[in-house]
């Protein structure tokens, strides 16, 4: 169980929750602000400067999950935010505690995931003196947050937290941080924090301009080769249903970005799955040849676009985004529509004069699906293929199963060979590409959705980076199935070395890795080994049946690489289907 208030509550005390004791310290005001904002879970690690806040948490109903490393706290909070849609909260102490959070904050920032980080800080009088465990946390995190606050006063610290919470969730979601000097949290105050409200200077657009919507709708209706590009913003705006209605009504093929996985069901005939460096061949063909792209909630990351010169070069672009700064940042928007994705989709739905006349185009997309299917070789005598493991697992589980991943080849296989149909079931590190994301993210995801099955695909290299998080999963008895697609290498690096560095495998092979099944057992989890096709289903079933964390160490073909592939900065339409193609590009 999570560490709630450690002392059992008197029955009558829980019944009168609404009548809270007045706050007496800054730390209590911090916790009250979190309570007011509806916080259920906090992921954190104790320490000197954050102790007053933890002490105030002792009396709260908020669940605290002690993580094994602060990086895990920020990733768990991030995944919690992705799955619930509400900000995930993490705590760390000053100095090393705060700096360990940084990777997870940067990760959340790149993926627009709502996270609020509260960090201890040395007492105000020591700030700037290089005191024990001091770092300039606000300075370090300012470029990777929506805003970093330095709490200067016990009377206003609660408001700082309320505002940070509201800001993390408002408009384009993202991380915020409040740095809490120990004297400020220890200091006396009777000031209750205000309700979570964004700062007055922060404006969030809701609806797009009607005239612009009308023009965009007409352009889309005129198109011969229309596509919808659905990004992570569609999921964050809870606009997946609106997207589905729109695409089905006007029969427009849908491509997702990688963070947009789950926004449109991959088993629908209009789905071309996801585009980009390792996206499907058919998505990349369609994105290259479209003449009108309705792009929603995407920032046109270079892993999606390849070189912008060859990205959808014939297409008029309708770009829907809640962040005006994303418009024409990487790809010029002919029709910028600034607003909430769900609202704008509703506006567009009403504004469409008719469906585009695109029978031929849809037929062409189907031809590409037939020509470039996602497939792999599975001769029985070869070592186990990772794709098979992913595919089998996908078939055995319900649609709302949540898939978390680390970063590397396994992440690509998990995105390619699992069939996603629901939003908020794909939890991964996209923009920052953080190896080690998987283990703690699965913890955050499971606590966010205890009734849904959670599986984490990881690589041996990525798993080792945060493997200590297993201790947390065991302590909390979280029913998570970790699958390590083990090829004794940092496989993606090795793949690039083979493709672009003449096979000079410098520092990419890991022949010294531990036996992950035994490692799992040492942590108190269940461990399994998988080496051949024979017992894939049986092992997966056993791991799923185990009520608690389990780890399947799947020894996969070390020669297997990820395809299709668009080389970095390349042309999406010129994806390689196999190693030999890379030479032709």
């Amino acid at each position: 169980m999570s560490e709630r208030a450690s002392v059992p509550k008197e029955e009558d005390e829980t019944e009168t929750e609404t009548e809270q004791d007045p706050v007496t310290t800054g730390a209590q005001s911090v916790i009250r602000a979190l309570e007011n904002a509806g916080t259920d879970y906090v992921f954190g690690v104790q320490g000197g400067a954050i102790m007053p806040v933890y002490d105030a948490l002792y009396d709260s109903d908020i669940n605290h999950v002690t993580m094994a490393h602060e990086q895990g706290a920020s990733h768990a909070a991030d995944a919690y935010g992705v799955v619930t849609g509400d900000p995930g909260v993490c705590f760390a102490t000053s100095g090393p505690g705060a700096t360990n959070l940084v990777t997870g904050i940067a990760d959340a920032n790149m993926d627009s995931d709502p996270v609020i980080a509260l960090t201890g800080q040395v007492p105000t009088e020591f700030v700037g003196n290089d005191a024990f465990q001091e770092t300039d946390t606000v300075g370090i995190t300012q470029p990777i947050t929506k805003e970093s606050y330095f709490a200067a006063d016990s009377d206003t610290v609660g408001d700082n937290v309320s505002e940070a919470f509201a800001l993390a969730d408002a408009g384009r979601q993202g991380p915020t941080l409040v740095d809490l000097p120990k004297d400020v949290t220890q200091g006396e105050t009777e000031v209750e924090p205000g309700a979570p409200e964004t700062p007055e200077t922060y404006e969030v657009p809701e609806e797009a301009d009607d005239e612009n919507v009308q023009e965009a709708a007409e352009a889309l209706a005129e198109a011969d080769r229309p596509v919808i590009l659905s990004g992570g913003g569609v999921i964050k705006a809870n606009a997946s249903s609106a997207l589905r209605e729109f695409a089905k009504e006007y029969e427009i093929p849908v491509i997702t970005t990688m963070p947009g996985i789950g926004s449109f069901p991959e088993d629908h005939e209009l789905s071309l799955e996801w585009a980009g460096m390792h996206g499907t061949g058919y998505a990349n063909m369609a994105i290259t040849n479209t003449d009108c792209m309705l792009a929603i909630g995407t920032r046109f990351d270079d892993r999606l676009t390849g070189g912008v010169d060859s990205f959808a070069p014939d297409a008029e672009v309708i770009h829907v985004d809640i962040d005006p700064a994303e418009i024409s940042k990487n790809v010029y928007a002919d029709y910028p529509l600034i607003g909430d994705a769900r609202e704008v989709l509703r506006q567009l739905f009403d504004a469409m004069p008719r469906a585009p006349d695109a029978d031929e185009w849809r037929d062409q997309c189907q031809v590409w699906k037939d020509e470039y299917p996602m497939s792999y070789d599975t001769p029985d005598d070869e070592p186990l293929k990772p794709q098979y493991v992913v595919e089998q697992f996908s078939e055995m589980t319900p649609d709302d199963t949540i898939v978390c991943t680390g970063v590397g080849q396994h992440q690509m296989w998990a995105s390619q060979f699992w069939e996603y149909t629901e939003p908020r079931t794909w939890v991964s590190s996209h923009g920052l590409g953080t190896m080690g994301y998987g283990v703690p993210a699965a913890i955050g995801a499971k606590l966010a959705a205890p009734d849904q099955e959670v599986v984490c695909f990881d690589g041996d290299g990525s798993f080792l980076m945060t493997v200590q998080g297993l201790s947390v999963a065991v302590r909390e008895q979280l029913d998570i199935t970790y699958v390590v697609l083990n090829n004794e290498a940092v496989g993606m690096v090795r793949q690039w070395q083979d493709g672009f560095y003449e096979g000079r495998r410098m520092a990419s092979e890991y022949p010294w890795i531990p036996q992950f099944d035994k490692l799992a057992e040492a942590f108190g989890a269940r461990g399994f080994t998988l080496e051949s096709y024979e017992n894939v289903e049986e092992t997966i079933q056993e791991a799923r049946d185990y009520d608690g964390p389990s780890v399947i160490d799947a020894h996969i073909d070390p020669g297997e690489n990820v395809f299709p592939m668009v080389p970095s900065g390349g042309d999406n339409g010129l994806f390689a289907l196999e190693e030999d193609h890379l030479d032709q590009l």
């Binding site: 912008v308 070069p313 700064a325 418009i327 024409s328 790809v331 339409g573 590009l585």
Partner: protein
């Protein structure tokens, strides 16, 4: 059966430039950099200058000068930022600035905006009359004098100050400090109200 190899696939004719704008495939089109004067009202509080300057450095905007000072409102400071960027970069700089929480409003000032900068030039004090004469030519004035040095204040456009400094070089320039531009729109238009 794998589909056509890369060079046999359906290909569009179009092309975009490095800014992601569709261009004539035959033509080379890029936006030339131009200078823009951005004026921003910001919350007057610690850290705001570092937040703004960090934004410009991490986004690699080519910044010419940045000045900041208080306004009539104690809670507000005003920044004047000169950047030299191609059009999309200027647009992006404005949008990124607006995203910062302490930023209240941002506008690009028009070409004819009043722009002034200040320079203090310390030169050798051997020929004070000559120094004064040059200062007069640029509407400057001596603000400090000793037996060894004269310090002259010049205000005006960047070009005027460049020219003045060039002229003062004949007196053995010992030290120079320049502020960068402060600017306001001409006429009744302000950051708060469009006219």
């Amino acid at each position: 059966m794998p589909g056509p190899a890369p060079d046999e696939r359906m290909r569009p004719k179009g092309r975009r430039n490095t800014q992601g704008i569709r261009v004539d495939p035959e033509a080379e089109v890029t936006h030339e950099p131009r200078q823009a004067v951005l004026s921003a009202l910001v919350k007057h509080r610690p850290g705001v200058l570092s937040e703004v300057s960090a934004l410009f450095s991490r986004r690699q905007f080519n910044i010419e000068s940045l000045t900041v000072g208080p306004t009539a409102d104690d809670d507000t400071a005003r920044m004047t930022i000169l950047i030299e960027e191609p059009e999309p970069g200027i647009d992006q700089a404005k949008k990124q600035l607006r995203k910062l929480v302490p930023v209240i409003s941002v506008r690009e000032l028009e070409g004819e905006a009043v722009r002034r900068e200040l320079a203090l030039v310390k030169v050798s004090g051997e020929k004070p009359d000559d120094v004064n004469a040059v200062a007069d030519m640029y509407n400057g004035q001596a603000v400090d004098a000793s037996t060894d040095s004269v310090t002259v204040e010049i205000t005006g456009s960047k070009q005027k100050i460049d020219a003045a400094i060039e002229a003062f070089k004949q007196f053995d320039v010992q030290e120079i400090v320049r502020t960068g531009a402060a600017a306001l729109d001409r006429g009744p238009k302000t950051l708060e109200k469009d006219v």
